[in-house]
Symmetry: C2
Subunit: 116 residues, 2 copies
DNA sequence: GGCGTTCATTGACAGTCGTCTATACGTTGA
DNA sequence: TCAACGTATAGACGACTGTCAATGAACGCC
């Protein structure tokens, strides 16, 4: 994950100085790290999760609020949340029994910057 | 594909009036269309292709220029180009023997707008 | 017309991914 | 300490995806 973060930052900020986006050829390693991050978002269930969390009060939600709207089983939702968390897009915080998830906006902004 | 384009536009522009991005819950259909578009980009080879084309003179390139830098077979590169073209991200133009590909910037901008 | 070149398509195969059921884990309250 | 609840993990299975070798189709040139 740290490896991915670094690679994305490199693409956004440029190897040394100036922002590049996709304006410069991509090394295979960098491309793979970037693709891995994009794959985390490129799933309908995970997009729905992001939208649900982002539009929840306080921009956070617990699993119990997310399972039913998605129409998927609890383990499946948990799996998707893990993928997003591992990618650094979501933040997990335990409060007693519940796991609360919030979005890391900088991470999504990085992605958007790369694409453009 | 037209269906995908419409769904993405809906997410960018909002159901009726105002831009939403992911700030509003996503219908499954919309999420699937969006995911399909993201999947097209979420591949290392295709990211490299986009970067190569974008950084080529005139922001266009033919297959013969793309196969070697990627280190993949010609059919595989052709496959990836088809995926990007079908997603509306690339534009294909035949000139005699050669196929030239160029990027559709608005399409990438739409994607970036949705993510943010 | 025949041939070489460039690209697209087909078919096959291994690997990955999304989903589920079953089960384990951790926390809370009695 | 134990039971109940919310969540995470493991294992299995079908579907999709990326890749290649082989083949086909379109075009320009001799």
């Amino acid at each position: 994950m740290a490896r991915v973060t670094q690679a994305v930052k490199a693409v956004v900020a440029g190897p040394a100085c100036c922002p590049t986006g996709l304006n410069t050829p991509l090394e295979r390693d960098t491309a793979e790290a970037l693709a891995q991050l994009l794959k985390a978002v490129a799933d309908p269930a995970r997009l729905q999760l992001l939208a649900l969390i982002k539009s929840s009060p306080g921009a956070e939600a617990c699993v119990c609020d997310l399972t039913e709207p998605l129409g998927l089983s609890q383990p499946t939702v948990s799996h998707h949340l893990k993928v997003l968390t591992d990618a650094g897009i979501l933040l997990r915080e335990r409060r007693g029994i519940w796991s609360w998830f919030s979005i890391v906006p900088e991470r999504l902004a990085e992605l958007a910057a790369v694409i453009n």
